[in-house]
């Protein structure tokens, strides 16, 4: 039931919302989150790498988990890859439900997981031409705060 995509192209929030609601009459609310590339610290561009195959599977798995946990009528996860510039949308979460609480809780759950449990890696490019991989913050990526469920156990430290 979920729509899950990993794509280089920009997404159109209005069009994705229309696609999500088309033909579904019980929807009372749509929660939505759009992640945007920030222009902090002199970043001029960003490159997103992913794990083809695993990423799509992981996204489908977490969408299924959200649909089991909340009374959703549909959800959409789109994550961009490749080169992006500040101000561009990088990730889109939509969760539709009969009621606002389920829609907003599922939206929060899904974006938290996308930030901490989905196999994407960001490399930032700066005004001076230098590039650097973004490091995961403690508590993000290192220890996903949300259960990964269908996509497997939490990543463990190798000690």
């Amino acid at each position: 039931m979920a729509t899950v995509r990993v794509q280089a192209e920009p997404f159109d929030v209005g069009a994705e919302m229309a696609a999500l609601t088309a033909g579904r009459t019980g929807i009372g609310g749509i929660g939505c989150f759009v992640g945007v590339v920030r222009a902090t610290g002199g970043i001029t561009a960003m490159t997103l790498e992913h794990y083809p195959g695993m990423t799509e599977r992981a996204l489908a798995g977490i969408a299924e988990q959200a649909e089991q946990r909340w009374d959703l009528l549909g959800c959409t996860l789109i994550h961009r890859i490749g080169r992006l510039t500040p101000g561009e949308g990088i990730v889109l979460v939509l969760a539709a439900s009969g009621h606002r609480q389920a829609a907003l809780e599922a939206t929060t759950f899904l974006i938290d997981w996308l930030k901490t449990g989905a196999p994407f890696w960001k490399k930032e490019r700066f005004a001076d031409g230098k590039e650097a991989w973004v490091e995961a913050k403690e508590g993000e990526g290192l220890c996903p705060s949300t259960p990964l469920g269908p996509v497997g156990p939490r990543p463990l430290y190798f000690r």
């Binding site: 992640g35 997103l48 790498e49 992913h50 794990y51 195959g53 695993m54 599977r57 992981a58 994550h79 990088i90 990730v91 974006i111 996308l114 930030k115 901490t116 449990g117 989905a118 196999p119 994407f120 890696w121 960001k122 490399k123 991989w133 973004v134 490091e135 995961a136 993000e140 990526g141 290192l142 990964l148 996509v151 497997g152 156990p153 939490r154 990543p155 463990l156 430290y157 190798f158 000690r159």
Partner: protein
Amino acid sequence: MRGSDLHLLYFAWLRERVGKAEEVITLPEGVGTVGDLLAWLRGRGPGYAAALANARTVRCAVNQDFAGPETPVRAGDEVAFFPPVTGG
């Protein structure tokens, strides 16, 4: 890839340090887990050693499921190493 092979994948800065995105190797003798494989790979050369030195910053997936050091590795598996994720 033959039945006795492992398909290895590297992502992000691990890929850059190892110097390749993927490779097919024969399952080394004595390697039964992700932890064993990690130790074996570190001995393959300076690129591998640099990429895999700090185990705190290395993650793994076996057949596209997140894995830990005790996760079994068998011939035919797809094993990926990568840094902590930074999506969204």
